[in-house]
């Protein structure tokens, strides 16, 4: 039986969406920080990595995440390797959640996400402050973590829609 979805370009677009977004957002700003709204910033990459490594890790490889972390460090000016380490810790958290979860639940995922980003931001602050003696604004980190947590449901809806399209097209 022939497939109903023969648009290979669209299939390709959907299947490379997570990786495309990952590299686009490390090379380019995709977190609205340029809007310069006071006390507003969020980390789009954390949401992207958490969602895709939790729901569909085949479409966002660990090696791409590692390379994206290196690029992010170079662009932002952090010591090379820190972002990669933090992003991979998110992957560890999602891999663990996948292993212990029988029936996925949005609320569980959401609060696991909060725990994961609190943990990795704390580790990042500790490494930067204690090892590299780079001054960090703790309040800024807390605000960033809070908004990242609050924005998760919004991106969850969007990514979930795309993920369903990917699965549908693969199974078709």
């Amino acid at each position: 039986m022939s497939s109903l979805n023969k648009n290979t370009f669209l299939n390709l677009m959907f299947s490379y969406f997570p990786i495309g977004m990952l590299f686009l957002s490390v090379f380019n700003d995709f977190d609205f920080n340029y809007l310069k709204i006071d006390y507003f910033s969020f980390n789009f990459l954390h949401i992207l990595i958490f969602f895709w490594t939790l729901k569909n890790p085949d479409h966002l490889g660990y090696i791409s995440i590692f390379i994206a972390g290196i690029i992010n460090d170079v662009i932002v000016g952090l010591p090379i390797g820190i972002s990669s380490f933090c992003y991979l810790l998110i992957c560890t958290a999602t891999a663990y959640i996948r292993n212990i979860t029988l029936s996925p639940n949005f609320i569980n995922d959401w609060f696991s996400f909060l725990f994961a980003i609190l943990l990795i931001n704390s580790i990042q602050v500790l490494i930067l402050d204690l090892i590299f003696s780079i001054k960090i604004d703790y309040l800024e980190y807390l605000i960033n973590t809070s908004f990242t947590f609050l924005f998760y449901p919004l991106f969850f809806i969007l990514f979930n829609y795309i993920n369903e399209k990917i699965i549908f097209r693969l199974n078709d």
């Binding site: 310069k36 660990y62 000016g77 380490f85």
Partner: protein, 282 residues
């Protein structure tokens, strides 16, 4: 109890070591690799330095190309906004121009007087300027820095002052072959020795992470003195990195805790890098 602990260990071990179908490396391998990279990047071995330069060159070029469309859109947006206010701006500029013309006469006189006085003490300041384009100005909420398109091949060195027009923007903290990173004055890690005029007090200013700075070290009488008049902050030249007298910002007597920088770091397209030497003819 033992079973739940076993489950935890199995889930954790599986998370670290198990590879999904399309994953080529396990998480544990990559985590160790990233720790290895963090440790390596702190050593200044020649080979690591060259690898770092290579990565920086490639990443900065790519980032510049990829962020070009977004920058174009932002520029169009700010051009439209400027056009909307054109008449109002024109009237204000006319008034300001008249005031500046009067000030310029005074400045010319002071400049000549300054040159004469330097001749008297047999000292002259020679400075060289390099013009650079801003390649990347990624607005990170944590670290404030920009990337310029000039590097060691253009005789750039770490510690050089970077100015926007005549206003100080920051200092060069990393130099690659064709590009360099500038730490902006607004960064928390930026510390600049300055002099507060007209009271003539020495101080060190620090970034706050926002678009203003604060005075970190100065004399205790500062608070009393500063309340009398608006203060202009200039580089003092102490420490030998910066040329003395580069304007940095202004402290209003109504809000003495804030140094409003003269330059708007968000609008930077080009910058000048200044190196200087003081020659004593004695």
């Amino acid at each position: 109890m033992a079973t739940s602990r076993d489950d935890f260990v199995i889930a954790f071990r599986s998370a670290f070591l198990k590879k999904k179908d399309k994953q080529k490396f396990s998480l544990l391998t990559l985590l160790f690799l990233s720790i290895f990279v963090i440790i390596l990047s702190n050593y200044n071995f020649k080979i690591i330095k060259y690898i770092k330069f290579g990565i920086n060159e490639v990443v900065y070029k790519f980032s510049f190309l990829i962020s070009a469309p977004e920058k174009k859109i932002q520029n169009i947006n700010s051009h439209v906004k400027e056009h909307m206010k054109i008449y109002e701006n024109y009237k204000n500029i006319e008034l300001e121009l008249e005031a500046f013309k009067q000030k310029e006469l005074m400045t010319k006189f002071l400049k000549m007087e300054n040159e004469k006085l330097r001749k008297l003490i047999d000292e002259s300041i020679n400075s060289e300027e390099i013009l650079a384009k801003v390649l990347i100005d990624k607005e990170s909420p944590f670290l404030k820095s920009i990337i310029l398109n000039k590097g060691t091949k253009d005789k750039m060195k770490i510690g050089m002052a970077v100015v926007d027009g005549i206003y100080l923007v920051g200092k060069v903290v990393e130099v690659n072959f064709t590009n360099s990173r500038v730490l902006l004055l607004s960064d928390l890690n930026s510390k600049i020795p300055v002099v507060l005029e007209p009271i003539g007090m020495q101080a060190v200013i620090s970034g706050t992470g926002d678009n203003y700075g604060k005075i970190e070290y100065t004399k205790e009488e500062y608070v009393e003195e500063i309340k009398k008049d608006d203060i202009i902050v200039y580089t003092s030249g102490l420490g030998g990195l910066f040329k003395p007298g580069i304007p940095v910002g202004k402290i209003s007597k109504d809000n003495i805790n804030k140094i409003n920088f003269f330059s708007d770091f968000r609008q930077l397209e080009y910058a000048k890098i200044i190196s200087y030497s003081i020659e004593s003819n004695n």
